[in-house]
Amino acid sequence: MLASAWQYIVEHPDRFGAALWRHISLSVAALLIATAIAIPLGIWLARRARVALFAINAANVGRTLPSLAVLALMMPLLGTGFTPALFALTLLALPPILINTYAAVRQVDPDVIDAARGMGMTQREITRGIVVPLAVPVIAAGVRIAAIQVISGAVLAAYIGGGGLGDFITAGIAMMQISLLLVGAIPATLLAIGTDLLFGRVQRALTPRGVG
């Protein structure tokens, strides 16, 4: 079975390569957009208790939604293809990054902030020089969770015509062809594991010395 899956890849390098590329580009784009939105939003929310309560609760609800449901909900709104899949995956990636960023900023020692203010650092200098470096390890952990969720969720993009490795899986199921299913499933799994390892390293690299 594995052998025939491998054979399929060797015989259809273009088709496999395109699906793999679509899978990765979809995931990376979703993660980048989500990061660009959720990190600034999380930092902003950390200083606004009332709005934050609402936003963090919403994010927590968002976190419990099944990936497939989010993707399915996009169809009536945006139709099928790359864009709705990207949109859905971005939505999936937002909550963990937002929640971690918010928590990371909130856990920065208030005495450290007080000392910084008392010495005449501006709000901007405090955010950039103190809060963000101290929050980065926890924010990176959120991005790591989001990345794995997106890479895994991207498998389901096939259901709304988003393409990617999920195409092989849905086709494999439809045709009762396990080897075709594996052409999608095994690389998708390896991608998820690789992503986890990669972001684990990034997380360690971003943790400032003297912390953690």
Binding site: D111, A115, G118, G120, I130, P133, R209, G210, V211
Partner: protein, 306 residues
């Protein structure tokens, strides 16, 4: 140097003002200790000086300038700030922590580096071995000394210290206090020092301002406050042992007369009168001899405390 006039801070929703028409002058080069029971407004008062808290009414002058008309960020860069929890930046080296304000002021790197080493030497920490370490690698006492060095970095004329030695164990606290006094004698900063510990106030203060419910109860040099408490509240606050506390402010040599008493214990001349009395009581003698000549008799102690 620092002039508070009719200073009021009313926090929203509080039944009474935290600081209530407070007038206080701190002369250049003196350590003014703000003390009082918790909630007396001492920290609030201090935090209004560098505008971490905005006053409701009244004026604050620092070096002749009304601080409410100054840019708060610039104001704070010119005032050293030390807090109990130190608030060192954990992700920065000791050197980078000390360099905070010089960097904000845009000093060039060679000047900053020279200043870091100078300050580490001042606080008795070897620059080579501490410069590149991180706060978590230091003991509580060492961290607090770095906190003081950081506040002194840009050589501000004024220091605000909020219970700076409150979180250190008693033995190290005494050492850090002594060190700070030594540095202060050298640098002559104008210091507002908040504490709730009367012994610390007596030791550190050139003057003590005792606050209660946001109002000034008494303002006097330590010896005077101990000798002539303004009312029952001050008397209670300074404690029943104020006679002993007064002795702690003077040395044995200041009480000494010529001569010596055979069989009396000997102490060094700069022993505090309080410790001298303790040695005398312990030995059962009625006098102590001073190394290098002179004697303090029991009645000499009474002359100071009676």
């Amino acid at each position: 140097m620092i002039k508070l006039k009719g200073l009021v801070k009313q926090f929203a929703g509080a039944p009474r003002p935290a600081v209530d028409h407070l007038d206080l002058d701190v002369a250049a080069g003196e350590v003014c200790v703000l003390i009082g029971p918790s909630g007396c407004g001492k920290t609030t008062t201090m935090r209004m000086v560098n505008r971490l808290i905005e006053p409701t009414s009244g004026t604050i002058e620092v070096n002749g300038h009304d601080v409410t008309h100054m840019n708060p960020v610039e104001l704070r860069r010119g005032i050293g700030y030390v807090i109990q929890q130190v608030g060192l930046f954990p992700h920065m080296t000791i050197a980078a922590n000390i360099a905070t304000v010089p960097h904000l002021l845009g000093w060039d790197e060679t000047k900053v580096a020279r200043r870091i080493d100078e300050l580490l030497q001042l606080i008795g920490m070897e620059p080579e071995s501490f410069r590149d370490r991180y706060p978590r690698e230091l003991s509580g006492g060492q961290r607090q000394r770095i906190g003081v060095a950081r506040a002194l970095a840009a050589d501000p004329p004024v220091l605000l210290m909020d219970e700076p030695f409150g979180a250190i164990d008693p033995i190290n606290r005494a050492r850090v206090q002594d060190e700070f006094l030594k540095i202060q004698r050298q640098l002559k900063k104008t210091v507002v020092f908040v504490t709730h510990d009367i012994d610390e106030a007596i030791k550190m203060g050139d003057r003590i301002a005792l606050l209660r419910d946001g109002r000034l109860v008494q303002q006097a040099p330590p010896a005077e406050m101990l000798a002539r408490p303004a009312n029952g509240f001050v008397e209670d606050f300074v404690g029943a042992d104020r006679a002993l506390k007064r002795l702690s402010l003077i040395t044995c040599v200041s009480l000494a007369n010529p001569g010596s008493v055979v069989g009396a214990p000997e102490v060094s001349a700069d022993t505090s009168a309080r410790d001298g009395l303790a040695v005398m009581l312990e030995s059962g003698a009625r006098a102590i001899n001073l190394a290098g000549g002179g004697v303090v008799r029991l009645e000499d102690f009474f002359a100071r405390t009676g």
